[in-house]
């Protein structure tokens, strides 16, 4: 999800090494019994570390950035990076078999890079060319790759195994990596990108954390819900038990592109092979999944 990170391939490799150590030393145990999260104790430790880092550095820097730069400038920064990202978004749309979306993304890049003054102005959106959000993690999902276990990586945050590999490819393929030769410039560019992103999310994360009983669990559920939505381009099929209990499921138009992806029911575990015929069976099935 973060296409440019300072020498992040290296820190990712380090993170993986740390993870491997924890896994081998057996300090990872099942705590809550969520089948997607077998290394919960390791992940909780990493989560605490990231929270500490965010409290000490991430949030203060983002708040300072927000206080110093007016909104108008921050939008330009956002637009600039957003424009560069459209290239790989287009590539991923091609890889996912959506040529029309890809053409849209490349057209966005061309219009915004020229008429939009190097991407500072998102005039393509105003012209009706929609902004998409695609990455290699989503592409792998569309190809049918299994999600694998859930990990919280230092600095990089929640990613299942599929998204971890996807993120590594995103970073490797990020245009700034090959467009900027000078390491210092590249790192400052990446830092600006990350700070701008963090500043944009300040309100959202505060609300989320305030609302949660258990921040770790809440973030994990948000991650899974959000990724699933992105994989299905905003139209994920909704399992019947998401309706209020005791109510008949309704007729619904089929979701766009609802191919049998590996994680079709990834949100709350996997559905039983055949849909239960009555509410009680459905409810007891969903209970089994939660435990």
């Amino acid at each position: 999800m973060v296409p440019v990170v300072m020498d992040s391939t290296r820190s990712l490799a380090r993170a993986l090494a740390v993870a491997a150590y924890f896994l081998i030393s057996g300090c990872a145990t099942m705590q809550n019994g969520d089948p997607r999260d077998p290394y919960e104790s390791f992940n909780r430790a990493m989560f605490e570390f990231n929270e500490g880092f965010d409290d000490a550095i991430g949030k203060p820097v983002a708040r300072g950035y927000k206080a110093v730069l007016p909104y108008e400038i921050r939008v330009r920064v956002r637009n600039f990076f957003s424009n560069i990202q459209d290239v790989m978004i287009g590539v991923n749309n091609l890889l996912q078999g959506k040529p029309n979306d890809a053409v849209n993304d490349f057209a966005r890049f061309m219009i915004n890079s020229t008429l939009g003054l190097a991407g500072l102005h998102d005039i393509a959106s105003e012209a009706g060319l929609e902004k998409h959000k695609e990455d290699f993690g989503q592409t792998f999902a569309v190809w049918g790759t299994e999600p694998g276990p859930y990990f919280v990586w230092p600095f990089l945050g929640p990613n299942d195994l599929r998204d971890t590999v996807g993120l590594a490819v995103d970073i490797y393929a990020a245009p700034v990596r090959w467009a900027i030769d000078d390491t210092a410039t590249r790192n400052w560019t990446a830092a600006l990108f990350l700070v701008n992103e963090r500043a944009d999310l300040l309100d959202a994360t505060t609300i989320l954390d305030d609302a949660a009983l258990d921040k770790y669990v809440a973030r994990r559920d948000v991650y899974y819900q959000r990724r699933r939505d992105l994989i299905y381009d905003g139209n994920p099929p909704r399992p019947p038990r998401e309706r209020p209990p005791g109510r008949e499921s309704r007729s619904e138009a089929p979701a766009r592109g609802s191919a049998p992806y590996a994680d079709a029911q990834a949100l709350w575990g996997t559905l039983p092979p055949q849909e239960p015929s009555n509410d009680d069976a459905m409810i007891s099935a969903s209970q089994g999944m939660q435990q």
Binding site: K131, L213, R228
Partner: protein, 207 residues
């Protein structure tokens, strides 16, 4: 005179019925649009709300938005199977605590409204449907549009929202794992206690 009374009564009943009918036929998509635009209008004119006056925001939400939400259905959805196991008194306290938590935390999101544009998508449902999803999109420069989906059910008192997705994340379903874990550890009373304690903490922090 005596003949007039039944006519008055009948007339009154027709009027009442007419009003009930009118309230019932406000279609869910029209309702969402109306309420959203009304709230945005108020927020865009209110300097105190823009400055982050939480009490004022909560007042606005209580008056304009919450009448169109069914917190009982929301709580039931977040509880999943455990809802059936709760006693009436436990249900009452759960609904109250959950409502307070959602309002207190999410109402503040309204204050961050800036130059976003709202797009109201046409409703894809049959006229006889009693359970629909109303789709709204928030468009911001340089960002993917944020989809806001309202799951709504038809009740005797009009259409009520029982679940809300922001960018594919259900604010209600996201509590399911947390609720289930708390109930597994400390029972339904434990969850009631945890929610009420959480609300007290938030209230204390706001002062």
């Amino acid at each position: 005179m005596i003949r007039l009374l039944p006519m008055l009564v009948a007339g009154g009943m027709i009027l009442l019925a007419g009003r009930a009918l009118a309230a019932e036929v406000t279609p869910p998509d029209a309702l969402v649009k109306m309420v959203t635009l009304e709230v945005l209008e108020i927020v865009s004119k209110d300097k105190e709300i823009q400055a982050g006056n939480v009490q004022k925001v909560i007042g606005l939400v209580e008056e304009k938005v919450l009448p169109h939400f069914s917190f009982e259905s929301m709580t039931a959805l977040a509880m999943g199977v455990n809802w059936r196991k709760a006693a009436p008194e436990q249900k009452r306290r759960l609904v109250h605590a959950f409502r307070t938590l959602l309002v207190r935390t999410y109402a503040s999101a309204i204050t961050s409204y800036r130059d976003e544009k709202f797009e109201f998508l046409p409703l894809r449902a049959k006229p006889a449907d009693t359970d629909v999803t109303v789709k709204v999109r928030v468009i911001r420069p340089g960002r993917q549009a944020v989809a806001i989906d309202y799951d709504m059910e038809k009740t005797a008192r009009g259409w009520k929202c029982y679940n809300m997705y922001v960018a594919g994340v259900s604010l209600v379903l996201n509590y399911r794992t947390e609720f289930a874990a708390e109930i597994r550890r400390n029972g339904i009373d434990g969850l009631v206690g945890a929610l009420e304690a959480k609300n007290q903490k938030l209230e204390a922090a706001a002062k």
